[in-house]
């Protein structure tokens, strides 16, 4: 079947290649440093002496008990993930039986595999498309630090150059048990999250405007 000429008149393959190359080079230049772990709030509990409210507990329970992973499996660690996913190790025990093909419905990204610079913009886009709150587990040596390919011209030395990572699961590849432990660690992390909505906040919000202003 012939492609309508008017549709292809706006672009040619050469200009698309140049755009892609420019995008990759820009991403490479902007991701020289490591994005820090987004877990500074873990110490807040101690510093500010915050106690989790019942509402926090309910929200955290709901979030950690139904982590839906987005599809991001560029390499061989995906085999171990599949193994963890099916009957023998059974991720469904943790409320994770739903693989989301659309990142907009997912809240967990398990990055199973080596990431090349050519794939990096797509992974970053998938991460950005995920709705908040979202978490990332770096699965395997390549995802943690680039693994044996860390010095390669084509490989991103760790996902934390591209996206913030919550939990690192080392191994080449990690066994399903290790991945399950990583997921449980993330669940414990989520359980300690403190939300901006607290019971005093709710009380304040429910009070009439004048009263709040006078107080």
């Amino acid at each position: 079947m012939e492609i309508d000429k008017s549709l292809t008149a706006n672009y040619d393959s050469k200009s698309i290649d140049l755009l892609e190359g420019a995008e990759i080079e820009a991403l490479k230049a902007s991701s020289a440093s490591i994005i820090p772990d987004p877990d500074e709030w873990l110490n807040e509990e101690i510093k500010r002496n915050i106690f989790l409210t019942t509402l926090d507990w309910a929200i955290n329970w709901a979030r950690r008990s139904s982590l839906w992973p987005a599809v991001s499996f560029p390499a061989c660690c995906a085999m171990e993930f599949m193994s963890a996913f099916v009957a023998r190790f059974d991720l469904a025990r943790f409320g994770m039986e739903n693989m989301r093909s659309s990142p907009r419905q997912a809240d967990l990204m398990i990055t199973a595999g080596t990431l090349t610079w050519k794939m990096a913009p797509q992974i970053k886009r998938v991460y950005e498309q995920m709705a908040e709150p979202k978490w990332v587990i770096a699965m395997g040596a390549c995802a943690c630090s680039g693994g044996i390919f860390a010095n390669s011209y084509a490989v991103v030395p760790g996902y934390n150059h591209i996206i913030p990572v919550d939990v690192y699961v080392p191994g080449c590849p990690p066994r399903p048990e290790a991945l399950l432990y990583g997921i449980q660690t993330l669940q414990k992390k989520i359980a300690r999250m403190h939300h901006s909505i607290t019971v005093p906040d709710l009380k304040k919000a429910l009070e009439p405007e004048g009263v709040r202003g006078g107080a």
Binding site: S13, D17, L18, E20, G21, A22, I24, K118, Y153, A154
Partner: protein, 146 residues
């Protein structure tokens, strides 16, 4: 089991038809001058007694002094195979004739070699990078890369 043809035997067959085209031959392979590569390949594919209808693989090797491009040919009809090599001595702008006219499967393999080894294939319909992105500096599989 596919029979690997002796390069010496094939060189003997090709000798009268392509004088001075074959640089050397061994039990493993024949080495063809790149100027006559297209003609020799055309004969290897189309002659009924050889009929190498399938190009299994193309690889390139950097020997510092020259690049060697290796073609693995297979004949389903006679169930035999042959390794053909050609050499390219120009390091700054290596050019080798493309075999996409004979085997369509050579298209991506030649693009891969162009991408990673920097060897140009004259007559290729779409010679551009396939693995790395446009704007990548250098050809990483060359021995002098980095």
């Amino acid at each position: 089991m596919t029979v690997a043809l002796s390069g010496i035997e094939v060189a003997r067959q090709l000798g009268p038809r392509f004088p001075e085209a074959i640089i050397e031959s061994s039990n493993q392979a024949i080495v063809v001058k790149k100027e006559q590569l297209t003609a020799v390949m055309d004969y290897l594919k189309n002659s009924p007694e050889l009929s190498f209808s399938f190009l299994s693989d193309i690889t390139a090797t950097d020997y510092f002094d020259y690049f060697e491009i290796t073609y693995q040919l297979t004949s389903f009809e006679h169930n035999h195979k042959l390794t053909v090599k050609t050499r390219c001595y120009d390091r700054n702008k290596p050019v080798v004739p493309s075999v996409t006219g004979l085997w369509q499967g050579a298209n991506f393999m030649e693009r891969e070699i162009f991408d990673l080894m920097g060897i140009e294939f004259s007559g290729h319909p779409n010679l551009k990078r396939i693995f790395l992105w446009e704007g990548f500096a250098g050809h990483p599989l060359r021995k002098d890369y980095l």
